[in-house]
């Protein structure tokens, strides 16, 4: 039992990301309203961002910005840098761009939803399908 509890606590970031991701997936599959589907897609994306950022964490490490970078006493490059002292910068870089791209794709999704609304006067999926079948 203690093994199980240890497992749950040691990997708790994965449980959070899986929960969030499944909430997003459920919204994408089951929701009838297009805007709710788009929101589900965004929750899904947030889960992936959380996953990546949590991978970058290291125990006892600080943010990936070098101390004494251009310090006058040390001089550039003379300060020895240990990889264990700084978090992994790579997931931060990937997610930094992913967040902004996520906003841009959200804009495109909303634009398409607006276009659909202008054409069918509804955002409910079943009503749109009924209108398409009628034609």
């Amino acid at each position: 039992m203690t093994d199980f509890a240890q497992l749950v606590v040691a990997k708790y970031n994965y449980w959070i990301y899986i929960t969030l991701m499944m909430i997003g997936l459920y919204a994408i599959i089951s929701k009838n309203n297009l805007v709710k589907k788009i929101l589900g897609m965004n929750i899904f994306q947030t889960a992936i961002i959380l996953f990546y950022v949590s991978i970058g964490a290291k125990k006892g490490a600080t943010i990936p910005i070098l101390e004494h970078g251009h310090g006058p006493a040390h001089g550039a490059g003379s300060h020895v840098v240990h990889a264990a002292d700084y978090m992994n910068p790579l997931p931060h870089v990937l997610m930094l761009t992913a967040i902004v791209v996520g906003v841009a794709t959200l804009g495109v999704a909303l634009a398409l939803a607006l276009k659909v609304y202008r054409h069918y006067h509804t955002l409910e999926e079943d009503e749109i399908l009924a209108q398409i079948r009628k034609k």
Partner: protein, 276 residues
Amino acid sequence: MKFLGLVIAFITGVFLVYAAVDFPDWADPESPASTHVSPHFIEKTMEETSVPNIVTAVLADYRTFDTMFEATVIFSAAVVCFFVLRTFLKKEEREERLYRHVLTGVTIRVKEGGRIPPSDDFERIDDSWIPHDLIIKTICRLMVPFIQIFALYVVAHGHHSPGGGFQGGVILGASVIVLAMSHDLRTTLQRMREKVVGILCAVGVLLYAGTGALCLLLGMNFLDYSALAPILGVGPVTARSHGILIVEIGVAIAVMTAMVWIYNNVSSRGNYNEGL
């Protein structure tokens, strides 16, 4: 459908949990993600690029191709919003215009060819006019310059503190969007015309790609900023630092205008009237 969705989400979740059991523990310094290429980034960034913020260095130097195409993606998204939504009214459809006299609240209808008296007290309005609150208008107007100064700081100080082109660009775009939300879209468009937004968005991406092409012309690899050393008059390592700043500025311009462009189109449904 709802039940099916629940079942699918549950089964996928179970598989993901099953896979996650084998993942490294949270904050494990020996995890595979932290052992292969990331120690090189952390230990060599200072001597190779002279940028203390490793995230900025990786973003704009080691993984610069990735970032360039991310900027292109944002540009494409903004252009897609424009093409999907933007509608141009024909001339006969906008014969009549409504103007509101701000001081008295009187609305006048101007027919085709008519003109309003030359005065600053008139504002153009739509058929349905929603008043904007004076307190919100004033406070947002006062806040905008400070937001923009902070955004410029975030862009320029991205080498030494958390920040950079993407973050600063989004804050800059937010300052313009705050103005558009507290006033109306026309006020913003008077300060930042649609053409300016579109051209700047392309200029931002062009600045990034152009820096790469310049490196190519100077005989090095695409986006290898050390080629800029003779132009900037510094050593090759410092040239990398300066090159990063140049492309970050390009990213900031592209991101700012893309956010504003998307907001303009989506909030006004492409007709660029009053907006939200």
